[in-house]
Subunit: 342 residues, 2 copies
DNA sequence: TATTTGAGTAATATCGTTTACATTGTAAAA
DNA sequence: TTTTACAATGTAAACGATATTACTCAAATA
């Protein structure tokens, strides 16, 4: 029942070779003869032998494991995890598997020990950070880490002057594209719903894109058509409600996220404003629900599969001693009914 | 730059004690004097020392890590991971963290090596399986594992005669409750949309609940009101379309999943059947989109937070040598507009 | 005073690999 | 025949901790 664990010595004994030969044979070293290898592999299979990961890691000082650290600002209510990040975790895991890496998952509080807890304790060879916003952009500890050859990449807005590697979606130009689409379909008075302060860099970039579209089209931007909102349905609802109350006229809403857009749609409907006839709506993210609201939401889709793969590739580069570059990912405008061109 | 890694020897040297004392002091052993402990802790912090996980694991033969294995039948198209499982992964990770366990995540193909790859190779102390359906219920390899004190629990339907520990939602009685709710709001001809073969045990149990509700209310079940469907929007759409074509009369649909229900709603709408006036609809799962379809979908919510916590508790019991019992989790009927009682 | 006790610490043996280095055997080159 | 080269294997030293056993030195007991 509680049989002794099979070790490489058991295999060696049964195969009549030394333990080191077993190790070499199973790790695919070219230094071992073909016959010997086959024999050893057969015995290993028969005895149901598996290399002990801890011993192997300890000796080789590699773990073949990536830590994925998720900082979810949900804060007190840990129940709801941002679905976008969950999807990302999925694609990271799959990308990592393609390189024979395991993924160690952890939800974090914003702390300075995240790195030590994973790479320095040899749990993982590198760390992928999700949801850290611009925390790692200017943080002093992060600065130190970068200069002590730490291995980590961050999903987040790519901003000039960042020292470490960031991978993020091309917020600015895809936002510009969305607003441009509204212009081309005849809308003029496009409002922006979402935070525009630098504290939430993603929203800020999307706001920049919104402005770019205006200047590219030589249209003048009405600052009263910008209303702040947090990334939630409720906040989007309130923002649009207050916009309506200002009596300011508008014929389209560009929302900084789908959640905001969904709240916005609710507010419009409550005031009997027809979508898209009177007001067109565009969101950002393409969360699953976006296609189910009515009218179905036009939005910008970030390719999470590519994102996961690229994050993994960058962190592996870093582990192998290269210095990965930050990278923008293109996003795609998904046109549905809410913007009125379908 | 590439400074030598700090080990417990460095601490020992600086503190003027032996290395073993350092180990004890930091692992909270009561065998070490108070002054010595404080001194050692201070030095450890100063030198930014972290216990090497691999060395520690190797020696102690424990990893403080749980493997979460997700078998997602999506198959060829790995892009879309079942959002329900993603949520589950989140709650498992958070529950595990509460017990100071890490989570190692892996997507699997259906294979017989999943166990060896994780616990036998000492990557993890135990394994939580998601999405294995009834694979582990009757599988011979699983049988062997159970009798060789392997540590694993499975999320899935609890079925009599299972040898290992399963945790699943109480499909049968919550389905019965949902159908009962339809009866009480005056519906008579309730159809069931979803597979009823034992191959998908969850759906089968939900079908059993549907039947139970009929027999409890002494109503006779019309077998022509049962249409098979897979767990997808498209399949739900087709199923309901074919039901409509049979000309069989019905005033409510109980769908085995929300995705099916969403497809069903589409089909009804295409035939200009009013929801809920002519036909009420109830789903199962409460995926995020359920509240966004229109009319908002009445459904049955599985409590993923509890589920994650219980899975973790069971696997820890198993690791500690106890024999955890399988367990049902209650589910909750979430009443929205699609069933017409709101 | 001699002996016991026990708290605190030191010494040492693992845990199961990987890997640098040493050794052997065989065949080609001198 | 002797040397050389190379391929295949063996030997043994890490890797960095934990666990067990053995020691020290004070206070308590006889």
């Amino acid at each position: 029942m509680t049989q002794q664990k099979t070790t490489s010595f058991d295999i060696a004994y049964k195969a009549g070779v030394s333990q080191s030969t077993v190790s070499r044979a199973l790790s695919g070293s070219p230094l071992v003869g073909k016959e010997t290898r086959i024999k050893i592999q057969a015995i290993a299979k028969e005895l149901n032998y598996k290399v002990d990961k801890n011993a192997s890691n300890l000796r080789s000082q590699k773990t073949k494991t990536l830590a994925v650290l998720l900082f979810d600002e949900a804060g007190t209510d840990n129940t709801m995890i941002n679905p976008f990040f969950l999807t990302m975790i999925g694609s990271i895991t799959q990308a990592a598997a393609a390189y024979q890496y395991d993924v160690l998952l952890s939800f974090q509080q914003l702390s300075d020990d995240w790195y030590a807890d994973y790479e320095e304790s040899h749990r993982a060879d590198g760390v992928i950070c999700l949801g850290y916003g611009d925390y790692l952009t200017y943080n002093e500890k992060a600065h130190d880490l970068i200069h002590s050859n730490a291995h980590f990449v961050t999903w987040g807005p790519v901003i000039a002057g960042q020292e470490s590697c960031f991978v993020g979606c091309d917020n600015t130009s895809s936002a510009a594209q969305a607003v441009d689409h509204l212009f081309h379909s005849g809308r003029e008075k496009v409002a922006f719903i979402g935070g525009a302060d630098e504290h939430c860099p993603e929203f800020y970039q999307r706001y920049q894109g919104y402005k770019t579209a205006f200047s590219n089209s030589k249209k003048t931007l009405n600052p009263r058509l910008h209303v702040n909102a947090q990334n939630s349905e409720q906040s989007g609802f309130q923002a649009v409600q207050s916009l309506i109350l200002t009596q300011e006229s508008f014929d389209a809403l560009f929302c900084a996220s789908d959640l905001i857009a969904i709240g916005a749609i609710k507010a419009l409907r409550e005031h009997n404003i027809a979508i898209p006839r009177e007001v067109a709506v565009i969101g950002f993210d393409d969360i699953p629900s976006a296609s189910y609201v009515s009218p179905a939401l036009t939005t910008i889709r970030q390719n999470t599969v590519d994102a996961g793969r690229i994050l993994v590739e960058k962190i592996l580069q870093s582990i192998h001693g290269e210095q990965p570059e930050s990278e923008f990912l293109p996003a795609q405008l998904i046109i549905r009914k809410s913007c009125g061109t379908i």
